[in-house]
Amino acid sequence: MVTAAALACRRLCKAFTSGNRVTQALDDIDLTVAPGRIAGLIGPDGAGKTTLMRLAAGLLRADAGELRVLDLDVSREPLAVQSAIGYMPQRFGLYEDLSVQENLDLYADLQGVPVAERGERYAELMRLVGLARFAARLAGRLSGGMKQKLGLACTLVRPPRLLLLDEPTVGVDPVSRRELWAIVQRLVREQGVSVLLSTAYLDEAERCDEVILLHQGRLLGQGTPASFSEPLAGRCHLANAPAIPKRRLQMRLAALPAVADAIIQGERVRVVTHAAGPPDLSELDAGPAGVEIRPVAPNFEDAFITRLQAERAEATPNPPLPGAHAMAGPGGAAVIRVDRLERRFGAFYAVRDVSFEVRRGEIFGLLGANGAGKSTTFRMLCGLLPASGGRLEVAGHDLRRAAAQARGRIGYMAQRFSLYANLTVAQNLRFFASAYGLVQRRRQERIRWALDGFDLERYADMASGDLPLGYKQRLAMAAALMHEPDILFLDEPTSGVDPLARREFWHRINRLAEQGVTVLVTTHFMDEANYCDRLVIMADGEVLAQGTPAETKARFRDAERPDPTMEDAFIALIEQRAQAAGEPP
């Protein structure tokens, strides 16, 4: 007898209407998830991952199509489905004023777990998630990773047959991410639970038994991770040119017609070509030393990008960025100076003893998990938050006290879309042009530049809140660059945008840096750190390391890891710190 599928849907559709805009969140989805395995639901924001999860949990009703979970029809028997599954939404409802144990008790009560069975189940869960030592601690005082683990434990308090995890690793530090994955893998192995897990991190796809690739509500493919990357065999290479900086090499490689994708990986450039074999580098001006190139195995991200590119055949080529401040390349002068910066909220130090300098024309990264103090540092630099101690200077001013004109030299792009959502694209651009004091011809020119350079012309009269996510990000960037700032502040600019948009974004940043604009960027994507000239890694409000990406990684090179990634370096730093503090991580 064939075991019933953990989840099966046929012709599943779900649309959402907001105002007069209809979003097709799921469009005619057919798929089957086998039991006893980890199925990864992969796709950028807006792909329909959460909608599918909520449909499967019986929290939404499908517009059309059939959805069966554990061989039960979700639309007919939502309660039966809900009692057989565990669902952990993106923001799990932990009660922050209750202790770890009290949260567990509460969910055990809600799920109707008999008191007699609880002792054993709790012990098992605590062993699984490793929170036994913290049973008495308030949930609100746990770290982000520990909260996710507690959420998982609460979801598992009554053993489910199918576990739905909606982006459990988003914003969690790399150490906790690894641990969460270990927990999920053990659950499947030891208890035979089926898991459907969604993620926007493409590197996590390779840890799944099976991958379901969604994009804008449509199913792009389903299969083992290897089945996605196999067709790319022979098309992936790592390139390195000793004579020119890696960012310049990447830009030149990306411009070659044979190249489908070029990104910075570690200290090299990863190149994916349209056809098998290395790209023709004869036209590439890489100096006397030339380009070293060697083949590598394709990974899931390569596969994802090439699929998306095929989807968007009409994708715009990287547009030129005319008219940004043409200044000399990286100069020696420090543009941003931070000295023993400190920010307290009551007795809690959000930022403590942070010092760094950013030179002109540099891309400088602030790295860390959610809650590491990156955004707080960032807000203090922009003058949005007063510092409790220490000194900071941006272009020679403390922006909090400086005259208004000093702010005219910086551009700012917030973490989430923060332009006026009910104004049109053109109205937003006009407002920010005026706010930055641009007048008459200059104002017209810059608005035209933004509409052309960011391909926003066709959306000019659309309310900016209704733009597709990638275009929102372009608009935000256009508004931030309107007045040709010398310094650009970017707070988690790439969180949630799809990998293609991320590439385009970094491409623009590279160009700006080449033109002498100083860029300060925060990110929790460790791989993006390689785009930075220099970076600091933060955890719990303190700087763990600073230097160039190569230096940072080199500190952790050993026999076991001859070529450590930024994530390896980050994890090693966290472990070092925990050891110094005298407690296991």
């Binding site: 922009c382 208004a404 879309f417 923060s418 006026y420 005026s434």
Partner: protein, 369 residues
Amino acid sequence: MLRHILALALKELLALLRDKRSRFVLIGPPIAQLLVFGFAATFDLQNAPMAIYNQDQGAAARELIARFEGSRNFEVVARIDRDDEIAALVDERRALLVLRIGPRFSEEILRGGSGPVQVILDGRNSNTAMLALNYTRSIVTDFNEAWAARRGQPGSPARLEIRPWYNANLESRWFVVPGIVGLLTLVVTLIVTALSVAREREAGTFDQLLVTPLRPVEILIGKSIPGLLIGLLQGSLIVAIAVHGFGIPLRGSVGALYLGMALFLLSAVGVGLMISSLAVTQQQGLLGAFLFMVPAVILSGFATPIANMPQAVQAITYINPLRYFLIVLRGVFLQGDSCALLMDQYWPMALIGLVSLILAGWLFRHRMY
């Protein structure tokens, strides 16, 4: 500077008017409130239910009853003839007032004596009871005088000749509707401004605004202008409806009215922006607006006279801008006051506006996280 402010004011207006919900909030509720207050909120007693318990068979009693039946203040809903029916009528609120005419009423007054008439009132709402009693008194006084005149008797020693100035018919609508102009402009202006910064804080756009070279004072002025404009439009609309729809006379100078309105709006905008810069979310902003609005209306003299309030509470009313504007409104509408006469109302509103705007500007910079 001017360009910055204009750009900001334009953006504020666009953001407000492009949103269907906020357009509705600006138009729907004020019209509804105007109708409710204009038609339903009246202090006049009309067609109050009354019962008559007539134990007398004489002509004098019939004449007195006829006067009650003819009054538009009362409507006779029951005639009873037993004592124990009274309690049921009043208890069940079927009658506000029971008029009991004793068995010897006609006989007594025909003899030249005085006949007892008993009035039983439902005193649960003391205000209405007092009104009903006053109407009853005047009907009985009229009856007495007519009776005396017919029989050639001298009238009462002192006779009251009533000449109400400014509102000859003592219509309470003339008192209430000008007040609504103040009430509704306060509501709309406060909501527009109290939510403006909070809305931006929620959407994250306030940070974006603060990192531009716009100065706090420019942001403050830019954010005040839409509130002022919308308040002025709304106020003018309500004034027009009051004059043309409700027939309230506008006796004073329009200039005096608009000077008062402008100063009042300035203070309302100041208070609104102060609430706004304190509130982190729109919910807090709305709550703050109501927290200000309810006492502001009660302590304004809109419904109950300030002179009746305890001394300490009267002192609080001096910081309430609505108090001054209501005097301006009623002064201009009913008394025909000029600017010069209203000077004492203008300067406190200007002061409140100035202080609250300065405070709001300070709070912008110091309440940012």
